[in-house]
Amino acid sequence: MNTLAKWLIVAFLVTVPLWLGNQYQYHVLIMMGIFTIGAMSLNLLLGYTGQLSLGHVAFFGIGAYTSSLVSLGFDLQLTDSYTFVVEPKPVWFAFFCALIVSGLCGWFVGKLSFRVRGAYFVIVTISFAEVVRLVALNWVDLTEGPMALNNIPPLASGVPWMEAGALSRRVANYYMVLAVGLVAFLIIQRLVQSRVGRAMIALRENESLAKSVGVDVTRYLVLAAITSAAIAGAAGALYAHYVRIVDPDVFLFIYTVTMVIMVISGGKGTLAGPLVGGLIFGILPELTRGHMLPEVQWIVYGALMILIVFFLPQGIVPAVQRGWATWQKRRDQSARDTSASNGRRQEVAR
């Protein structure tokens, strides 16, 4: 896709609030945006280094909890005499804390992935997510457990021109998600189109060969894991400040599955894949909601997924790219044929 098309898409997204009035549609767009950011971060690991993290929601949830806790303030009784107190901090600061904490967790899991790969890596990540969920559920002093963290300040608080009421809260949230999504996309693009990205792809294609040409496997895996986790954490923080309540259910496996489906159906290992997947699987459930029962809806959802995996195993984006290339080739070919036959005709005429 060329640069112009990319900027047109961005411009279109920026102007959405000019014509979209329906609050509910905003909600759909914002949730879709948040999960698309999550899918983009997962794609960095799954699509480029080839490591399937089935506990990706852990980073998402850690981001959500960190950002909420820092912006709400909390106190922890470490010993009988000493209590660690954090005063409520501005939302932007909490957001960056979320990035750092989930990035650190990514570093930890990345270090583990040096020792275990493939199926074992998948199991480690699932367990990691489950352990974090249990901690969130049971560490009531800190996380309020199933009572959930309430009254999380909205994202726009602290950004002056948004708070002033020039924009409704949903529009402000929409722009925040869009901005974070754009930055995340640019970071991932920079990363995968550089030498680092080349090394990651080499690693995915043939690890021992990558090693033999001098790729430092651990370093790039860890780097990918950190970046991916931090972006997922950013998505989690956006989520927390948007819905303004966080409970241990943010760690549910279904969220990871949603992200994996977005990445795989869109096309893993392509920049546009998670965006397309996010668009389809973010909007589809909402579109079908009016027409069919929830149970039927899930069946359709599943059937569509099976069809995509069956007929477009590489995902939608690579399939479209291939179709486009073939079409262009055929067009060039026919153009050449016509000009050739024209030339022949002229010769005959002469």
Partner: protein, 236 residues
């Protein structure tokens, strides 16, 4: 230049190399021959750092590289061209070559070197934008060789460069390796095709079940009755 001193290697609990020693001098062409499972490829892996030995010592230009990382060893000037024409199948030919000089920073010379590879193998030049997995076996082998040379190594380890190639491609590949050697790159080659290897090389080592059983100049080895009988299929 390269001294391998009594190294031992294991895959899990299985001893593969038992006290293998060999040396390669600067500019030499050394062949490593032997039957399947004798430990030829393992020796190369131990040298290039893919499988660090559990005992013994490897030095390169006076420096101990026994436990150095694969990356460090590559930076010191040893390139490994692994067995079975291994390329990155979904990368283009050009990207594969770029991976070969992954550790290098001198962009200008890199493109010169790449042009040199394309000059040498025009077929790769024609397909520089094609995915490497779509090349034929022989072309993939040429690409793997080209990639190994892109790091401007002082010593190249070739692991069975003729494996699975058509006879005319085998000849071409061998000629190319000899030319690399004539131009000053030291070569250590593992080869099943013992006769061809012994004809090409300066010196050679015969590896049998994990240790060096014989060494000598290539043509002396060709006339050795044991080698003739076991590896060249001649009646003595």
């Amino acid at each position: 230049m390269l001294e391998v001193d009594n190294i031992e290697c294991r895959y899990g609990k299985v001893d593969v190399l038992r006290k293998v020693s060999l040396s390669v001098g600067k500019g030499e062409f050394v062949a490593l021959i032997g039957a399947n499972g004798a430990g030829k490829s393992t020796t190369l892996k131990a040298i290039s750092g893919l499988l660090p030995p559990v005992g013994g010592r490897i030095t390169f230009e006076g420096e101990d590289i026994t436990r150095a990382s694969a990356r460090r060893i590559l930076e010191m000037g040893i390139a490994h061209c692994p067995e079975g024409r291994r390329v990155f199948p979904y990368m283009t030919v050009q990207e594969n070559l770029e991976m070969g000089c992954y550790r290098r920073r001198d962009w200008k010379h890199m493109s010169d070197d790449m042009d040199a590879v394309f000059d040498r193998f025009p077929v790769l030049g024609e397909r520089r934008a094609q995915a490497a997995g779509t090349l034929s076996g022989g072309e993939q082998q040429l690409l793997a060789i080209g990639r190994a040379l892109m790091s401007r190594p002082k010593l190249v380890l070739f692991d069975e460069p003729s494996l699975g190639l058509a006879p005319n491609n085998v000849q071409k590949t061998f000629e190319y390796i000899m030319e690399i050697n004539r131009q000053g790159t030291t070569v250590l080659m593992v080869e099943q095709n013992a006769y061809a290897a012994l004809e090409m090389c300066d010196r050679s080592y015969l590896l049998e079940s994990g240790h060096v059983s014989l060494e000598g100049r290539g043509d002396d080895m060709i006339h050795n009755p044991h080698v003739q009988q076991a590896y060249l299929g001649m009646e003595v």
